[in-house]
């Protein structure tokens, strides 16, 4: 087994944003046939979302991302999840990544709770066998009993979140990516969920978390990356960078 790690080397990402004209096949065709090459730039804007972002994370690292809205936190998260590919620069990842951006994604309303445990697990990169092993533990955590044999469309919103949360936190990945902390269900459940989440976070080798809550970042992270306009403004020990970031925000 190679060591769990994540290495970004001068990652740049720019992407086009198309206006309605840029997305029209007819317009593009007319532009080509009328020799309208000059106008083509006007059809879309290019956004430089990330600019030369470099850092290395090794097993045990807990990285927090801070920055204003639109600073590139979510974009960076998606690069780490290997959803967006860098336009320039490179990213190397060793380990199973799990991205918890939307925990209810991939739940099938017509299927039962048990069926959803399997399918959601498969999407997380686990095997059906592994999910069967984890099922009793998920059953116990959700406290939903026989409801798990019912189609999940019969669930209340709270139950749905509870099940989704129990599934995605059942097995810790090597690398965990979280965009804001996930909350689940009613108050009594929140406490239980909090404990499970903390345990889950501790079990994963690497954590990357974006959050607007500096408290949460201080609690979970040992390193912080401050992004501004897609560039690394500062990177270092959590407490230090968060202090810097808070000072900058207050002045």
């Amino acid at each position: 087994m190679t060591a769990i790690s994540m290495e970004l080397n001068k990652v740049c990402l720019s992407y086009p944003i198309y206006g309605s004209n840029g997305r029209s096949f007819k317009r593009n065709l007319i532009n080509i046939t009328t020799g309208g090459r000059l106008h083509r730039q006007a059809n879309h804007m290019v956004v430089d979302a990330l600019n030369e972002v470099s850092f290395t994370l090794r097993s045990g690292d807990r990285l927090g991302l801070v920055g204003h809205n639109g600073a590139g936190k979510t974009t960076l998260m998606r690069v780490l999840a290997q959803i967006y590919e860098p336009t320039r620069g490179s990213i190397e990842v060793c380990g199973r990544i799990s991205s918890l951006f939307d925990i209810e994604l991939g739940m099938d309303l017509e299927s039962t709770g048990y069926e959803n445990i399997i399918i959601r697990g498969l999407l997380l990169g686990l095997t059906a066998k592994k999910m069967k092993q984890l099922t009793p533990e998920i059953e116990a955590f959700t406290e939903m009993g026989d409801f798990l044999s019912m189609p999940i469309k019969t669930y209340s919103a709270g139950m749905m979140v509870r099940l989704a949360f129990a599934i995605v936190t059942a097995a810790a990945p090597n690398i965990l990516l979280m965009d804001e902390i996930i909350g689940a269900g009613d108050n009594r459940f929140m406490e239980k969920a909090q404990q499970r989440l903390e345990q889950f976070i501790h079990q994963s080798d690497i954590l990357v978390m974006a959050s607007h809550s500096n408290e949460a970042l201080k609690k979970f992270c040992n390193k912080v990356l401050w992004l501004e306009h897609g560039k690394v403004k500062a990177f270092g020990p959590a407490a230090e960078i968060i202090d810097l970031y808070e000072q900058a925000n207050h002045t």
Partner: protein, 264 residues
């Protein structure tokens, strides 16, 4: 990893993920027919009614006897329905999965396979109509020629796969492609030998010879009706499959990284 390697890895990973996408296809199909007792068999029933009605009218219109016309039309329309649904909904293969594409790393071919497999499931349901027709009209199919269906269908699928991917990619990049494709598919239906037999326009007519769909239909239809498809059909499709796949692979490896931005 360069673009070609990444694209190849995408395909390999997607093939390995077959238990997931095949299962998801079944779920999606079930979802569409929830709350109806016979479920997806509805499409079989409506297909049977459609074929029965059209057969009566067209066999009169073209002065064909029922025993030859009904099986011909049945097989043609079954595979046409499959093919046109794949291509018409190709854009949805990616667009409906935008949530997944933007949230987790799955190979893009995963969505393509899921989409095509779901249409294959519908085809399999509709296939019951063919079996009924074959039994009723006592088609001479229990013969080695039926085995030719297997390579024929594989060729058919290979071509359908690249066309679907290409249309899907174009469709998420250019929003108005959907309408263009829909009109093209509709016109293709009328100019392809589905409702009319090729001999009616003359076997060597250009509308048959230059129409790729007529070859696609020929290789699956002939074995199911107890004939041997022409060697020419297989050759044409083989060449189309190779050239089309190469071109689509090139497009895919070049623009693959843009997909998560295009599905917005």
């Amino acid at each position: 990893m360069n673009n070609h390697q990444a694209a190849r890895k995408d395909i390999v990973d997607a093939v390995k993920g077959w238990p997931i996408w095949s299962y998801m296809s079944v779920l999606e199909m079930r979802q569409r027919y929830r709350r109806s007792t016979i479920g997806p068999w509805w499409i079989t029933v409506s297909m049977a009614v459609f074929i029965a009605a059209m057969s009566v009218i067209y066999s009169r219109l073209f002065h064909q006897d029922m025993a030859t016309y009904v099986p011909f039309f049945t097989v043609g329309i079954l595979f046409w329905t499959f093919m046109s649904a794949c291509v018409n909904d190709a854009v949805d293969a990616f667009k409906h999965s935008a949530g997944y594409i933007k949230q987790m790393k799955l190979p893009y071919f995963f969505y393509l396979f899921k989409h095509i497999y779901r249409q294959i499931l519908f085809l399999m349901h509709n296939f019951v109509v063919y079996i009924l027709v074959a039994v009723y009209f006592q088609l001479p199919i229990l013969h080695w020629t039926l085995l030719l269906f297997i390579p024929g269908f594989l060729l058919f699928l290979m071509n359908l796969t690249w066309v679907t991917l290409l249309v899907g990619l174009l469709g998420i990049r250019f929003r108005d492609i959907v309408q263009v494709v829909a009109s093209c598919v509709q016109i293709t239906f009328f100019i392809s030998p589905i409702t009319w037999m090729p001999k009616l326009v003359g076997e060597n007519s250009l509308i048959v010879k230059l129409n790729p769909v007529s070859y696609l239909l020929e290789v699956v239809r002939a074995p199911l009706l107890g004939h041997v498809p022409s060697l020419q059909s297989w050759l044409v499709l083989l060449i189309m499959a190779v050239l089309g796949s190469l071109f689509t692979f090139w497009v895919f490896s070049r623009y693959r990284a843009r997909i998560p931005f295009w599905v917005d």
